[in-house]
């Protein structure tokens, strides 16, 4: 795995300081930068875990028809036009005219005539296999509605719905009349729940086109039940009697019919696979020949809000054909991006490609085995990119990991990889993002004084190792500090000294704090700031993973 930098969202804990990287909770608190949002109002990072999500539109992924949210429920969350999935392979089905009965095998010129079949271009399943043909190639869903509505499970659901609907209505009525006598705080609460149940029951009662005429029986029985229900206790429900015995429904729940079927089975293909069965929302048929074409599930476009101030963070354009956003506050446009480069990995890769030359493709090794050998010292580079139109000054600091001395601390200590990270502690600038670069030969910062460098962190490594690095650090070309500045990128070098007995990953928390100046409101990306020059500061935590540590024995075996 490539080395990674993940960004912290503090929503999971009350503290702004993230958990140390060796704890399991660490992985839940850090996210890739491209998945994070930034709320300008709160001046804070927001992640997909903490934002509130609302659906802004529903559409069919196949025909791109935008379905008004009012009809989504009535259409049972699936496309109600011409889009169906192949029950066999889940490809999209096409409606084609059935082949002419006779003739020379050529399609007569002119308008093709029915009947039509649904046809899978991929696995060649067709709807005539299960006895479904159509008179016209449009409104297929409407033509199939009768199959769907007359299915026993669908009828059962409608009946169940009506059964509970009666109860919901009476209890809502009771709550709203009794609610007025209560204390005001209680009142507001019950009013709140009332509106929810009322909305739910209203939604449940909504007419589903075509359903009514197919279950006159169900309607009349619940009608009677409703009348009885009102006269007795409002909180009590009448007993629900199902329309059909569950065991009698073939393929629904095992039993004798299934045993018989299994006994007479000739090919494994006669039994529907789990994937095919799970695609169905009602009955999951056991036999392949019972599988029916399924309307394609709708997709939704969603907008997300800040959990604290409810400002919108991202909002897509309504049109299903559009892939643009009306509002898009991505953290990547506010926080500097960080990419890790491991020079020793690059070297390994170069060597590998040299060795691969002249070898057959099969014998080639694409990637060098990742990892750093225990007891060695490695360089790493952080490539920081400034997304803002203002210059920023960045300071990096590695979060100290305290070694617990409590009982049981030895086990803890053994698990924790002992390594030391060196990073420049002085702040360094990154030029603003701009369309035209004027900073090509700005090399003021090339070569920060060595005494500006500091040692960031010593987790559990002895001081002697650190001292050793500093001594010969001056003799070698500089590896720690600002290495390069180019356009809106700055490359910072760091070094990791890995202990001899180290295990696990080289993974550490790093605090990135930066200041930016906003001189004018128009020029700045953050338009909310006033026009007078102002220095603002922002900081966020990251977790840096440089990859696994290879024990010295393993490394020797590889060679």
């Amino acid at each position: 795995m490539a080395p990674s930098v993940l960004y912290h969202c503090p929503c999971l804990s009350t503290s702004d300081i993230p958990p140390p990287p060796h704890l399991p909770s660490s992985s839940h608190s850090f996210h890739p930068l491209n998945t994070l949002f930034f709320c300008e109002e709160c001046d804070a990072v927001r992640c997909n875990r903490c934002v509130s999500v609302e659906v802004s539109s529903y559409y069919c992924p196949n025909c791109l028809f935008e379905v008004p949210s009012a009809s989504v429920r009535a259409e049972k969350n699936r496309c109600a036009r011409n889009c169906f999935m192949c029950p066999n392979c889940r490809n999209t089905l096409a409606a084609v005219p059935a082949d002419p009965e006779s003739g020379d095998g050529r399609i007569p010129a002119g308008v093709a005539e029915g009947p039509y079949i649904m046809y899978c271009n991929y696995c060649r399943w067709d709807s005539a296999e299960i006895g479904i043909t159509f008179e016209k190639p449009t409104g297929l869903a409407a033509q199939l509605q009768k199959y769907e509505d007359s299915a026993p499970d669908s009828l059962e659901f409608d009946r169940l719905k009506e059964h509970f609907d009666a109860f919901l209505r009476t209890s809502a009525l009771a709550a709203s009349t009794s609610g007025t006598h209560h204390h005001s705080t209680h009142h507001s609460h019950s009013l709140h729940t009332n509106s929810i149940t009322a909305a739910a029951s209203a939604a449940l009662a909504r007419d589903i086109p075509g359903v009514g005429k197919y279950n006159p029986l169900a309607r009349s029985t619940t009608g009677r039940g409703y009348g009885k229900d009102r006269s007795v206790n409002k909180d009590e429900m009448t007993e629900y009697r199902s329309r059909s015995e569950i065991a009698q429904t073939a393929g629904a729940g095992g039993g004798e019919p299934d045993v018989e079927l299994m006994n007479s089975l000739e090919e494994v293909g006669e039994v529907a696979s789990l994937e095919q069965r799970w695609e169905n929302s009602w009955v999951t048929p056991l036999q392949t020949k019972q599988l029916k074409p399924i309307r394609i599930p709708l997709h939704s476009k969603r907008s997300k809000r800040c959990p604290a101030c409810t400002h919108i963070l991202i909002k897509p354009e309504q049109k299903s054909q559009s892939v643009r956003y009306k509002i898009k506050l991505m953290a990547a446009n506010y926080l500097p991006g960080i990419v890790i480069v491991l020079p020793h990995m690059r070297q390994l890769r170069d060597e590998l490609s040299k060795r691969n030359l002249g070898k057959s493709v099969a014998a080639q090794v694409d990637e060098p085995p990742p990892g750093m050998v225990a007891g060695n010292t490695y360089e790493f580079q952080l490539n920081l990119t400034n997304p803002l139109y203002d210059p920023i000054e960045v300071r990096l600091s590695v979060q100290r990991v305290h070694v617990s001395t409590a009982p049981g601390g030895t086990a803890e200590k053994a698990r924790r990889p002992p390594f030391a990270i060196s990073l420049p502690t002085a702040k360094f600038p990154i030029s603003p993002f701009a369309e035209a670069w004027e900073y090509e030969d700005d090399e003021d910062m090339f070569g920060v004084e060595d005494d500006e460098l500091g040692i960031g962190m010593g987790s559990s490594l002895s001081a002697s190792v650190r001292g050793g690095r500093e001594k010969d650090g001056r003799a070698r070309p500089k590896t720690v500090g600002v290495l390069e500045r180019k356009a809106n990128k700055t490359v910072v070098g760091g070094e990791v000294v890995i202990g001899k007995e180290a295990q696990g990953n080289v993974k550490f928390n790093m605090l990135v704090s930066y200041t930016y100046r906003s001189d004018d409101a128009e020029g700045g990306d953050l338009g909310v700031h006033p026009s007078k020059p102002e220095i603002r500061r922002f900081e966020f935590y990251t977790v840096v993973d440089l990859g696994p540590i290879i024990s010295r024995e393993e490394a020797r075996m590889d060679l």
Binding site: I107, Y122, D126
Partner: protein, 177 residues
């Protein structure tokens, strides 16, 4: 092994692009279209391709056996497929980037799905209307419904290519004619 002697017999109504790699004894029937960058290798025995076939770019057709490799009429070989079958019937579709080994004989109206590998160890004949599809190269039997539609579309496809390809490519002619 004696060196392969090239002998190309191309029907005057076939459309074979100049930029096609041919090797060995090859016969191409009337109305068959061979796109540029296709490869047809008759390494051992000859290859005989029927009429109305469409052989798309980067297709590789190889005959490693001594006997004649016969490919019927109106077959479609899609981009990047590789076929070594000793025999192929009529109206088959070999989809893009699929691979069929020399152990398989294909009958009629079969479809080898996109990217499918058909590489049985023992010799095998795919019956008429066999469909191979999906990542696991599953098989099913096609009812045959829609085949007239498909054949009609195939013919239109070929007609269009016969008209358009010569406008943009130089064509190859057979040895004899």
């Amino acid at each position: 092994m004696p060196p392969i002697r090239d002998k190309f017999t191309i029907h005057s109504k076939a459309v074979v692009c100049q930029d096609v790699e041919l090797k060995g004894d090859i016969t191409i029937g009337a109305g068959t279209i061979v796109h540029p960058k296709a490869t047809i290798f008759a390494i051992a025995g000859p290859i005989v391709i029927g009429s109305g076939c469409i052989i798309e770019e980067a297709t590789i057709i190889v005959n490693r056996r001594k006997e004649v490799m016969r490919i019927g009429d109106e077959n479609l070989f899609e981009v990047g497929c590789r076929v070594e079958c000793p025999s192929i019937g009529d109206h088959n579709t070999i989809s893009a980037r699929s691979r069929v080994h020399h152990t398989v004989r294909i009958s009629n109206h079969c479809v080898i799905g996109v990217g499918c590998l058909v590489v049985p160890i023992e010799d095998e004949v795919l019956d008429d209307y066999t469909i191979v599809y999906g990542p696991g190269a599953e098989r099913r039997k096609w009812s045959g419904r829609g085949k007239v539609q498909e054949a009609d579309l195939r013919r239109k496809h070929a007609d269009y290519l016969r008209e358009m390809i010569p406008k943009f490519n130089r064509l190859r002619r057979g040895d004899g004619i």
